[in-house]
Symmetry: C2
Subunit: 516 residues, 2 copies
């Protein structure tokens, strides 16, 4: 028995049941420990950005942390971009990073690096195992820290010689972790008085306030006060569909977002903070709260914002649910039309099952799909919280493990998909019910808009080339097939619809190229 095994057993006792991993030599005793404790589901990823994205997707759908097991600084480095997204999603992750044996670190061997420095960029807590005796205690602390009160990434650095030590620390039993902060009665009353008095209040939601319970409470308040409900452009998880209250998504571009906020005199915030634009533009203010509007934070991201909204609704005697819209009836499909993101949304509306999970990593195209499903089948829509593209396919891996009975979708731009296409291999290996839709516009399309918007002038040929992915065009059917996922290309609304029907009926992962 090695000390590593007490780490795995202790994590299992805390409810950490999945490990997304790409191990190396310094993690071999963790591999052996996973081997002996099969209750911890070990999921191999061909690239660490897949592991971190999968941990994010798992946590968004399960509400609890997965573990990641990564190989020294460079392995962690590859995971950082999707950990950035996870950090912005405010989800718990227990990130285990192997290190060289303690005596080896000072020798500065080729793989030695500043692991704590890498961890610090994305972690809310980093623990360094100094002795094997600490392993179980630090494992529990990592889980505790991952839960917050602001959930996030808790990193645990594990030197190889601590992992392989014979000194086996006690396996720690199930521990209780502190819940999120609660909003007091007085605070609720203060917000209730303000929102009653406001002429044109907006409830602005993020984090778990966008889950079903929070949305329902916001809907009750909206019904009572006839006020707007807007959620973050890139919320971590939005419960949507005809059985959910329909709130409005804040527009991406600042001028449209300002229009969304127009005439507001009070912003009541649950699970977020006052909205700002995604990027800055010359001569345009980045702050999106209208001048003169008061900002009241009912609940920040350390707080149970869904419960706070429900309490607020109760104090407001907002007992009646907002009348739900009937389920959208899909218009007839004009099968011969050239495909566009709207037709993808329409086909999803026609065929998607209740309970589906959509991982949206398709910047411009995702915006075209989104409106179609507002009153469609019930689903969770997971956004690119941190703006680091390459999250869709990995996140789908994690969501599918958290929700094995649901259909998961990854909507990816071709630019975004290229970042972490290795996730397809894990989808095939784990036989996951994931339908990957790759929108092939052969361009970083959003940047064509942005280039003009930031006032960088008319793009010449070199600038155009830097936003263009058509030379050569990626063949996504080949790439998907290469990683073991059945793949098909579609160019018309009808072809996409047929491909979707087939994929939904055929277990395992699929990739559908939407040539748009």
């Amino acid at each position: 028995m090695f000390a590593a095994e007490s780490l795995v057993k202790t994590l299992l006792n805390q409810g950490v049941e999945v490990c997304f991993t790409n191990p190396g030599t310094s993690e071999m005793h963790m591999v052996a420990a996973l081997d002996r404790n099969p209750d911890m589901r070990a999921v191999l990823c061909l690239f660490e950005g897949v592991a971190s994205g999968a941990a994010d997707g798992y946590a968004r759908m399960s509400g609890k942390p997965a573990s990641t097991l990564l190989h020294l600084g460079p392995g962690l480095a590859n995971a950082l971009a999707n950990f950035h997204n996870a950090r912005r999603a405010k989800v718990p992750v227990v990130n285990i990073v192997g290190d060289h044996a303690r005596d080896h670190i000072k020798l500065d061997a080729p793989l030695t690096s500043d692991i704590e420095g890498f961890c610090a960029t994305v972690s809310r807590w980093t623990g360094n195992v100094d002795t094997p005796e600490q392993i179980s205690t630090l494992a529990v602390e990592a889980v505790r820290q991952s839960y917050g009160p602001e959930p996030g990434i808790a990193s645990l650095i594990l030197p190889a010689d601590c992992a392989w030590s014979d000194i086996e620390p006690e396996v720690i039993e199930k521990t209780d972790f502190p819940a999120r902060h609660q909003v007091t009665e007085d605070e609720i009353t203060a917000v209730a008085n303000k929102i009653r008095a406001a002429k044109n209040p907006i409830q602005y939601l993020g984090d778990i306030a966008c889950h079903a319970q929070g949305m329902a409470a916001a809907g009750r308040i909206a019904k009572k006060l006839d006020c707007r409900v807007i959620f973050e452009t890139f919320a971590a998880r939005i419960s949507r569909g005809s059985n959910h209250f329909s709130a409005q998504r804040l527009n991406y571009f600042g001028e449209s977002a300002l229009e969304d906020m127009k005439d507001c005199d009070l912003l009541v915030i649950a699970g977020s903070k006052a909205p700002v634009s995604f990027f800055a533009y010359p001569g345009i203010d980045s702050v999106l709260t209208p001048p003169g509007a008061e900002v009241m934070v009912l609940a920040d991201v350390t707080t149970d914002s869904a419960k706070a909204l429900a309490d607020l609704a109760d104090v407001l005697e907002a007992n009646e649910a907002q009348a739900l819209q009937p389920r959208s009836q899909a218009p007839e499909l004009d099968r011969e039309q050239p495909l566009n993101p709207g037709f993808v949304g329409l086909s999803l509306l026609r065929h998607m099952k209740d309970g589906s999970v959509i991982c949206d990593d398709a910047t411009t195209s995702g915006m075209g799909v989104f409106p179609w499903l507002e009153n469609g089948p019930d689903h969770d829509w997971l956004c690119l919280t941190g703006g680091a593209i390459g999250m869709g396919m990995p996140m789908a891996v994690g969501a599918a493990i958290a929700c094995p009975d649901e259909q998961v979708f990854a909507l990816c731009g071709d630019g975004a998909g290229a970042y972490t296409c290795q996730a397809l291999w894990t989808q095939a290996r784990e036989k996951q019910n994931i339908i990957n839709v790759v929108f092939a516009n052969h361009s970083y399309l959003i940047l064509n808009f942005e280039l003009a918007r930031v006032g960088a002038g008319d793009p010449g040929p070199a600038a155009q080339a830097m936003l263009d992915l058509s030379n050569p065009k990626m063949d996504w059917v080949a790439i998907g097939t290469g990683f073991g996922v059945p793949s098909v290309s579609t160019k018309t609304a009808g072809e996409f619809d047929d491909a979707l029907v087939y994929a939904l009926a055929t277990p395992g992962p699929h990739l559908i190229v939407a040539e748009i």
Copy 2:
């Protein structure tokens, strides 16, 4: 005109002529500046790890920095693993990272992150542009810092509003940068006296001491004193072939490396430091200098180690070159034999041209190719300096830009190749003469050895699964084709030989799968 343009013009004046990039909204004015200054060759990469690996390969072959242009913290994060390799290779890189506009940073928008923290993990210098007026001055400082005296990554953080500012700083003309340290006559004499007196000295080489001039000088000393010459297991660039002195590569596994060092009483180091094992193993010492041997550093990595060896040879009156081995005659090819790395080496010996560049990211398989070319066609062999797999295909991109008239090879394990396969797209886009050989053993084979060596016990099915890439097998012909590179699979010595002949004769990139 924007301030960004003065940055590009100033870099051009310092001899920085290539920019490997994946830009985003915050870098659009740099894109416009590149557009207007086509002397700076802009090379688009589908993933930032390709850009950093390419900058490394370019610098190893050209001796000067390329620039990288990356999108905020997450874009940089994706580049860090190959920057780790570049840091270990001691090569110059000017790494430009876009940041939000200065007023936008404090708003903590989704893409905001600790860019300085990311930079610090791999950079020898980080500069933050605080005002547009500083841009040119900091650009020159970045180039200066990249050159060392220990060459490395100089990172420059460029806020979008500084880049788009109308205040255009002066374009700075060509600047002289300090050369590497020189070893004094007294120091050379001291080493000469020691090495003359030693019974069994070893010259231990790394860094530029492994280039042609350093190797030749070491060969003269070896001829004069009949002493061993050993170079680092993972040197950045080794000049090899029948027109070069043949030194010995230090073995990877510690016990074999100790055997290489046996009976040595004096280690004279040029461009390196005393060798240590790559990983630690239970109960085995990581230090590879034999007990009792004296270590003398003739030249460390801040120093012109090649010149130091030449000076030492002069003082030792080692005027005669070591007799070179005749060029190896390739044995006849047994075409029907199942392919293995040795046959790949044999085919390279048969057909490779002088001047070729080999980027080795094929851990176990690369070791099987290496010996075949010792006295073959002249070539440079570039190693995985930092142990972060996923360097081969990206590095080949950069090497091919530095050496447009030479044939470049990327030797990749299938595990390593999966990390940064997006590099194939840039190879196709730039029509580079790169032959990618993917050794498909469908396994993290090295880890099968390491699992046993670290004493983690007999692997059970879960452990075996974590080292196994055969479920599903990646189809590399499909992946290569998908990214626009003509690809073929080979299973016998003859099939590989034919594919290599075809690829050498046909311009542009190729991918040959070596099923082993």
